[in-house]
Amino acid sequence: GPLSERRLMDVRLGELPAWLATCDLSPQGLLGGVQKAWRSYYDKYINVRRGGPAGISMLLAGYCLLSYGWNYQHISKISFLVSA
């Protein structure tokens, strides 16, 4: 189908800049995009009859990675490594 209506996973690598140009980058648009992403994740992994640990464990793992990334500068300093 046309480029603007395809989801991110269906866009080829070469078309990525064009696809980014078509999407809505205003605050409301970004907020809507975030809400849609959370909705699809929630409906796939958490809002089911017999879910498992996978739903929240992926969220926790993502949080761990994100916080490691944010604190990398501080963790990699010698003073931090020696003091522990």
């Binding site: 992994y45 958490i46 490594l81």
Partner: protein, 228 residues
Amino acid sequence: VLHTTRPLHTTLQRLAPLPPLPEKGGEVRYGLIPEEFFQFLYPKTGVTGPYMLGTGLLLYFLSKEIYVINHETVAAACILSVIIYGVKKYGSDVAAFADKLNEEKIAKALAVKNEAIKDLEAAIEQEKKEQWRAEGHTYLFDAKRNNIVMLLETNYRERLLTVYNEVKKRLDYQVAMQNLKRQKEQDHMIQWVEKNVVQSITPQQQKESIAKCILDLKALSKSAQAAV
């Protein structure tokens, strides 16, 4: 015909009936990586591709010190092992408990729905009975109509009888009047005739008639004596 500005309830509503929840969530391997990633790499690298990728990435991060091993690594390892032990041992029990809670909720909702359906069916039964009763009203009205007709007939006949009696009384009165009149006339005439006859008998005629009677009596007595 209903005049509206937009069509009313032409299709099913968007959210009713709600689609049922999916039974199981998306497949996730080792609790962290979705199956889609393995399927994505399968055509090019086969089954061991993602594992090779994971090992290579891990060694790269470790060797380049992008991931630094410090006291927090030990803490993370202990926490992770405890979490995994807990999930493996008590996971099924917690799942059964949660399923039981869900079952109770669903059973309550179902009970409410069945109760409502039963009440509505009873109301339908009542309604049908009322309709059947309403059909019986025709018989009631026929009986009432017959009653009224009979009352009217009785009334009519009573009045007819009254009329007949009244007319008969008047005619009887007229007949009695005529009879009385004739009677009186007869009596009066008889009296008048007697009076005149008595008046017309003169004393001379009276004597003659008495002498005649005596002669007759003598004759009779003679014949009677002869008979005896």
